[in-house]
Amino acid sequence: MKGYYGQMRTIDVADVTRHIGEMCIEANHFLTADMAEAMETAAESERAPLGKQILCQLQDNLKIAGEDRIPICQDTGMAVIFMEIGQDVHFVGGSLEAAVNEGVRQGYTEGYLRKSVVADPLIRENTKDNTPAVIHYEMTEGDRLRITVAPKGFGSENMSRIFMLKPADGMEGVKNAILTAVKDAGPNACPPMVVGVGIGGTFEKCALLAKKALTRPVNERSAIPYVRELEEEMLERINRTGIGPGGLGGTTTALAVNINTYPTHIAGLPVAVNICCHVNRHAVRIL
């Protein structure tokens, strides 16, 4: 093992805490540039008068949030955090998991963000600091740490679905699953939505694919030609449902459909549809 440790890059977990705290606050006050642009474009192109009025109010809302330091939405979410860890990174200074949760605690407390987490799903006592986060760890090549903080509101999370389709259901089955989830979500999910879809893998893998799809820029299409076509077709069909901004009718029901795929079993075709409202928040930093 000669020289092995010499190649490791050291990251102090205190730095992870500090960055995550800042990112929780940043994500809840400012949309990423791609989302802000999509919202602006939607306000210009919406054909329904009431829909346009709602989209213009959402433009004002974004401006006020940034200027007055008020969260874009009062549901500042449960903190979903993707930790993509280079395999040549060595963490020092304590527990990484504790450091991540400490960052969430600091961000939500110091940033005047709402504490929306209960310690037990049935006993339901608020933890009062929005911890714990939902943390996904992934090992990657290299010596960098890529952190994505994606606070997820539950108006739209509650409308998300998993469909365990049969291989024979094929492409039509996938399209129907996406449309069913979007129509059932309707006004409850605060449209215009961003629709994250995971196809393939296993029961839990497709859900994770869908969640991660929501963190992809809304102006970036899949690199796989047929998936790209599916994303474009589904966006068009969703916008023909008439649901519109706020679910009160219009031509803007979704801003993007982001689809991720993964190999799957000969017997299965899992499809997860993770719906996000127009406050599709995330902050990304690379350490």
Partner: protein
């Protein structure tokens, strides 16, 4: 139609509202969401008083983010109303005249709205920063231990909302999308 209305809201005013009306609400309203509704239900079952008189009042389904110093409230947009469907009919039968939230309601709520001549309003979901500007004062009046889910008395000025369900039984969520559907 655009209208300015007062809260508390009389059944007479409620009776004049129609699905699709854009209203600006001024006066006193109360917040309650999941946990507060559960407690109110338990209070009713045990014959205990509710935190406020339902008669003529409006409940806003909302749990705010914390207020910064010098401000009455933090971000203050509506939460999904259907989670309160289990509790709403009993409160409507006690005289509740309006509910503000977002999203579809159950048939039981719709029937209670019609039966009692009440109104369900939608506020724009995800516009919590903008809506906070219509709140001029906020005070926790019950269930303080519930944090953001405590019952608050709010003073609002020109709070913008859209009539979704009116006393005649119209539902804007069902009718409005038809005009723009092209499937």
């Amino acid at each position: 139609m655009e209208r300015h209305i007062q809260a508390p809201m009389s059944k007479e005013t409620a009776g004049e509202l129609r699905a699709g009306d854009y209203v600006y609400i001024t006066g006193t309203i109360y917040t309650a969401r999941d946990a507060a509704h559960k407690r109110m239900q338990e209070a009713l079952e045990q014959g205990e008083p509710l935190p406020f008189d339902m008669s003529g009042n409006i409940i806003y389904y909302m749990g705010p983010s914390p207020a910064r110093e010098g401000r009455p409230i933090g971000s203050a947009g509506p939460t999904t109303a259907s989670r309160m469907d289990k509790y709403a009919p009993a409160l409507l039968d006690m005289g509740l005249s309006g509910m503000i939230g977002k999203g579809r309601r159950s048939d039981a709520v719709k029937e209670a709205v019609v039966r009692n001549g009440a109104v369900y309003f939608a506020a724009v979901g995800g516009a919590g920063a903008l809506l906070s500007r219509s709140v001029t004062a906020a005070e926790v009046i019950a269930y303080e231990d519930l944090g953001t889910e405590a019952v608050r008395r709010l003073e609002v000025k020109d709070f913008p909302a859209i009539v979704v369900m009116d006393p005649e039984g119209s539902d804007l969520y069902e009718t409005a999308i038809e005009a723009y559907r092209s499937e």
